[in-house]
Amino acid sequence: MAQSKQTFTLSGASCASCVNKIERALQRLPGVAEARVNLAEKTVAVRGTAAADACVQAIENAGYGAALARVGERELREQQRQVDRAHYRELLWRAGLALALGGPLMAWGLLTGEMSVHNPAQQLAWGAVGLLTLAVLIYCGGHFFTGAWKAFRHHNANMDTLIALGTGTAWAFSMLVVLAPQLLPALARHVYFEASAMIIGLINLGQALEIRARGRTSAAVEKLLQLQDATARVLRDGEEVDVPVEQVQLGDRLRVRPGEKVPVDGTVIEGSSLVDESMLTGEPLPVQKSEGDFLSSGTLNRNGTLLFTAEKVGAETRLAQIIEMVKSAQNSRVPIARLADTISAVFVPVVMIVAVLAALAWFNWGPEPKVAHMLVVATAVLIIACPCALGLATPMSVMVGVGKGAEHGVLVRNGKALQQASKLTTLVVDKTGTLTEGRPRVTDLQADGDEQELLRLLASLEQASEHPLAEAIVAEARERGMRLGKVQDFEAITAHGVAGTVDGRALLFGNRKLMQRENVDVAQWREAAGALAAKGRTAIYAAIDGEAAGIIAVADPLREDAKSAIKRLKRLGLEIQMLTGDNRATAEAVAAQLGIDAVHAELLPEDKESIVAELQAKGGHVGMAGDGINDAPALARAQVGFAIGAGTDVAIETADVTLMRSSLHGVADAIELSRATLRNIKQNLFGAFVYNTLGIPIAAGLLYPLTGSLLSPVIAGAAMALSSVTVVSNANRLRLFKPSEVSA
């Protein structure tokens, strides 16, 4: 096993003698080449081949605590980038070397036409070339042969198998021509060393280009990673120490200065500052943070200095979870790829069989030189077939598409959700918090007697309620400086309202159904309530001691961009339906303002799920957009659940698509992106299928009756190398995706 460097965080180490004890304990461990403690950071770096568990045990035996430090995502990426760079250079070098041999050989063949072996001098010359080609095959293409052999031993066949078989067969046949030309008819004594070398060169070149193109497919995750700072300023023993962010522990106190990024999630314990959270929530205005407020890692501290306690570190931070979700979604399978997956599972052995059949067909029915033709078609078929194009077609598009979504604040859970989102026909939207701000306020107050007293009584009653409308009433009373009374016998009646006693007076506060149930006559307020509902406001009836006493109207302001988002969604061909617990008149007024197609009003929370199910039963592909708080069953029931929750933890865990921006435009962005991604996948799959289904028969000699010649294995190699680069490049086109223009 190769030597590696592992870092452990220490606990209980506080002095120079601890350093010696820990280092000695580790150095006694077999496989440890070097152990070095950093007392300021409370870490120890261990180089060697010892297992992490053994190192931890050794440190614990010495009387200290230790845990393997988390390897930063950023560090992993950097390492991958270095590996890619080194691999890219190596592939280019191999390609250059192989082409340097294959190119001149090919030119010689084209210019002189002398690629045959008919006398001992030619045997000697071509024998030397054969040995040179063997060196190139081993040095530049050895990995294809070892890969093919290993796969073969495991009863598997992959791209390496095809390349190794193709180039190996061409070389072996050529060596047979060189060593024993008399075994073959005169016309078949042709050597194909140039094909072996050129194919190896071209395929190495193709792989190098593919590495470059693939590097760009993960650009979105790179951007998210860049939000995270590499170091954090931790207060230890009264001093501020800069430590790698991976070594921040729960409970550590951290300082973040103006212009710095918040390194981990935590709660402010001192200081006040504006914090830019736009990268996580899409909220363009910075948010004021002071003692007790929550800070998310990756957000930018603007103008003040903050001291905060680390509450979530490493993989637990919201940013890390978002990155993890994006990475996981990028690698998930899309149902549309199932056919390609099935084909690629049997592809290589089938191609091998086709190559043998084609060779036999040319041997039995082809013109002379039959043996040479056999070799050319078998090699060309093996080389032109490209399982990579099939295998890469979907993952590359999903990788770029999901990443692009993250850039626009659209977090897609997996490939299935991405595909489903492209097929939606109906979007069901929860009104509160999705179309509206979700922060209702009192707009009208009408009473038989003293309006102020009615408000005071009702606000006192609503103190015990957790309903959003109750908050609006209580907030209004507090704003007016009222002192609220004590509530007794409070009862929340689901989907009706509340009841209770304040200052000895029996109060009822709720909708018409509540008043009917309690036999309170509200006829005198019905007209006023209707007028308020027509304006999109929710009128709530109040009764004192069994008599109607007045109405209070509460309105939740519409989100500024709701109308334009609905317009965009309708332009995408979706039917928009609204769900709400509000009364029908209010709901219809809101729907009319926004241009919504259908309204389901006066709903109980559990009704939302059944409405989604009904729409599905009618054959619709239904998406549901909600804030993820109380509509989880409906979000889960829909083909695609969109949680508009500014990235709350609950929403991220449950929804198919989480929108970090609190706007319905995110749903339109997600649908446009999913359609663009699916279109891209289909182009890639179509291209890969067409390439293979046309390429293989052409390589087998289908066009020979028309053209009079066979496809050169070198051309087959070039086509194969280009096919996977083309697939990755086409997937990269998705990086140019932009959501459609927003118009009011």
Binding site: M1, S4, R214, S328, D341, M352, F363
Partner: protein
């Protein structure tokens, strides 16, 4: 001579069918416990069959030695689990409790293939 070449060709086809499909179904392929290090190299996972217990969380240890981008990710498509594998460094992949059955794990291009046998 002509008959011999045709027979050789047909035997080759029979050999391909047998080796890559029929012989593959036999459960004689080497298997390992989850604690084993799964080497990612030269186009194969070694060992390629891993036996784990049903209904318990599992950690698999991968060591990637192949620098080509194909080996960068291991994907458990049926489980919606994937992991980026660092080169030359052990990577732990956490799997949730699973029902008994067989689950495939592959690279992104499905060229590397392994099988998780849950019993």
């Amino acid at each position: 001579m002509s008959l011999l070449i045709n027979l050789l060709g047909l035997a080759l086809i029979a050999g391909i069918v047998w080796w890559f499909w029929l012989a593959k179904r036999r459960p004689s392929v080497e298997a390992a416990e989850p604690a084993a290090l799964i080497l990612v190299k030269d186009g194969v996972y070694e060992p390629e069959r891993i036996h784990i217990a049903a209904g318990a969380e599992t950690k698999l240890h991968f060591l990637r030695e192949d620098p080509s981008p194909c080996a960068e990710y291991v994907v458990f498509a049926d489980l919606d689990v994937s992991a980026q594998l660092a080169v030359g460094r052990e990577t732990l992949v956490h799997l949730p409790p699973l029902a008994a059955g067989e689950y495939e794990f592959t690279c992104q291009m499905r060229m590397y293939r392994g099988r998780l046998v849950v019993e």
